[in-house]
């Protein structure tokens, strides 16, 4: 056995032993989920709302053996699965491994299934079937569909025909039929996005760059706002010159283009900084989940009535 593998197996065994000890042999325990049983429709069925360990403790203290707040096995299993998959995905940082592959495959499978179900219930049923045969959909899936929205819209038959034509790709013959709805999709999407970008980005952004270089607010010169506006106008012009290739980048044009490059680099740096911030936040929430929800080592939101060492802020 390689030394590295031996070290990892030893670490995993120690980790498993620590988990076992914490969950079974300590008073506080870890990784348990609780629910509140709420009778609905005159007690015909029960709805289980999420609850905290604090809620459970309070209810037990008031009435030992009560049934309103309960330990939830399904939610607890979900919690442990979430922790397992979090660690499985993190394991890729050390190197590709079978546990990571399992987690990746489960994620892809669950996502595909979720998209299929959402596509059926949130797109096909209300937006296609519900428009053509509203009465059928109302009786079968959407009892709330009524009023003017429940009137049949024959124009949606065109969408149905296009959908069938698109699915024709799967047929052994006549695959070309799918090109017509595809052309329709590409045409409408291109048109829609072209208008959006032309109006929202191109034209209005030109307007947004036409700024007063000397800002005077209420008769008083505002130097800071003026510097900001000058910076915006100069930066835009320099960057535009950098992308202007009809002249060789020499002399004044070259110097301006060089300033443009610097401005672009600063922009990329700012974007990178923001990206780093975002990624750290994502890591932070996963670690918070592991430490708080799963291991019960911290309790920042007071869900388990943990005693804080000290209160208040640093500042």
């Amino acid at each position: 056995m390689r030394r590295e593998n031996a070290v990892w197996i030893a670490l995993l065994l120690v980790g498993a032993a620590a988990l076992l000890w914490r969950s079974a042999f300590t008073t506080e325990g870890m990784g348990r989920e609780y629910v509140r049983a709420v009778p609905v429709a005159n007690g015909q069925w029960t709805q289980y709302d999420p609850a905290t360990y604090s809620d459970y403790q309070r209810a037990e203290a008031a009435a030992p053996g009560q049934a309103e707040y309960q330990f939830s096995l399904p939610r607890t299993l979900g919690l442990w699965l979430a922790a397992f998959f979090t660690l499985a995905i993190f394991s890729f940082l050390f190197g590709d491994n079978p546990i990571y592959k399992v987690a990746e495959a489960v994620l892809v499978g669950v996502s595909a299934a979720y998209w299929m179900v959402i596509g059926f219930w949130d797109v096909l049923v209300p937006n296609l079937v519900g428009k053509i045969w509203p009465a059928v959909v109302q009786a079968w899936a959407m009892p709330g569909l009524s009023g003017p929205e429940a009137e049949p819209s024959p124009s949606y038959i065109v969408a149905l025909v296009l959908s069938v034509m698109l699915l024709w790709r799967l047929a052994p013959k006549g695959g070309w039929i799918a090109r017509w709805p595809l052309a329709f999709i590409i045409g409408t999407t291109a048109g829609l996005r072209l208008i959006g970008f032309l109006h929202g980005d191109f034209l209005v952004q030109i307007r947004n760059t036409i700024l007063p270089l000397a800002v005077i607010e209420g008769g008083v010169f505002d130097p800071w706002a003026s510097v900001q506006n000058v910076l915006i106008v100069v930066s835009v012009l320099c960057c535009l010159v950098y992308f202007f290739f009809s002249f060789e980048h020499k002399g004044v044009v070259g110097a301006t283009a060089k300033v443009g490059i610097w401005i672009l680099m600063i922009t990329f740096g700012a974007a990178f900084g923001y990206t780093v911030m975002g990624r750290i936040a994502l890591l932070a929430i996963r670690l918070e989940f592991l430490l708080d929800d799963w291991l019960w080592l911290i309790d920042p939101t007071g869900r388990r009535m943990a005693a804080l060492l000290t209160g208040g802020g640093l500042g």
Partner: protein, 319 residues
């Protein structure tokens, strides 16, 4: 801090033990040579400790770092704060669990602020997993702290609609073309607060929490630009925020960028409405700024060290 180190000695021991092999390599292989051949997994480990230890420290002590709201956070706050009770606000939550760490605190603070102002909230999403994000925020803020707010009268969840920017394009002029029921399947004509609402131009403000496409950019392009009377404020991920700055302030009066923007906005909402001892669930972003600080210091240090090694090596080659 000393009390923390003494009581949490086991964590300190684990951190030190995990870094002993690296220290031994520095001693045996020399500083420069070890840095030249440093395995990237050591950097992952350092990053893990730089994020985990502050989370643990803040989680145990309950302390947060001070935050000074920026002009943009204040502008976002003011856009909601200037509204009157009963005004309609569209809460477009276009994100999923993958960006919950950054955007969840913003969504919580937005809903808390709107609930404090007694605004009518219309929730919707263009992301398939958005409905769960909406439900979770409603449960966290409205159900828990504002039980007097009634579904259908004070807030409604219109749920998910597929179609990306086409949905915005349609509902900006005709909401009922796409929204015939809410997320629970209740007909919109049976929901009291939907009475008279025919398009989203009637909203006093659109609050968008955005993780990418479709998101704030599409709301700017298809709602705000063609109908300039529509007001939009947004909270966006760090990846997306730099692309949205050109829209500020004319097309986008308020923008919260990443967890930093969330923390600034949280601070404003807490100071204005929650008093000296707010519930910790409203301080999520402020708590997450601790790991940000330490991790950023580590990354800056790594960039400096890597560049120093690079310069030393380049000079060596020239000679």
């Amino acid at each position: 801090m000393i009390e923390f180190i003494v009581t949490q000695w086991w964590l300190v021991a684990i951190v030190i033990a995990s870094l002993i092999p690296l220290a031994m390599r520095f001693v045996s292989g020399g500083l420069l040579e070890t840095l030249r051949t440093l395995d990237r997994r050591w950097i992952f480990l350092l990053l893990l400790w730089s994020v985990l230890i502050p989370i643990y420290f803040i989680g145990v002590t309950g302390r947060t770092f001070p935050e000074v709201p920026s002009v943009l956070a204040r502008a976002t706050f003011d856009e909601i704060d200037r509204l009157s009770p009963g005004d309609s606000v569209l809460m477009a939550f276009d994100y999923d669990p993958a960006s919950e760490g950054e955007l969840g605190p913003m969504a919580t603070a937005f809903v808390r602020h709107a609930a404090e102002k007694k605004l009518k909230m219309y929730f919707m999403t263009l992301w398939p997993i958005g409905p769960q994000m909406i439900d979770s925020t409603i449960a966290k803020v409205i159900t828990a702290d504002f039980p007097e707010l009634a579904y259908g009268r004070d807030y409604v969840n219109l749920g998910y609609k597929s179609g990306y920017e086409a949905v915005i394009k349609v509902i900006v002029t005709n909401l009922r073309e796409l929204y015939t029921t809410d997320s629970r399947g209740t007909g919109v004509q049976e929901i009291p607060m939907m009475e008279g609402i025919t398009n989203i131009q009637q909203m006093k403000l659109i609050v968008n929490v955005s993780a990418g496409y479709p998101g704030t950019k599409e709301w700017v392009q298809y709602a705000v630009t063609p109908f300039p009377q529509v007001r939009l404020v947004a909270g966006a991920t760090g990846v997306q925020a730099p692309l949205l700055y050109p829209y500020v302030p004319r097309q986008l009066p308020g923008l919260l960028g990443a967890i930093k923007g969330a923390a600034e906005y949280e601070k404003l909402v807490v100071d204005a409405y929650l008093g000296a001892n707010p519930h910790p669930k409203y301080l999520e972003a402020l708590r997450r700024m601790g790991p940000q600080l330490v991790a950023h210091l580590l990354i800056i240090a790594l960039i400096v060290v890597a560049n120093v090694v690079f310069v030393i090596d380049s000079r060596g080659k020239k000679r």
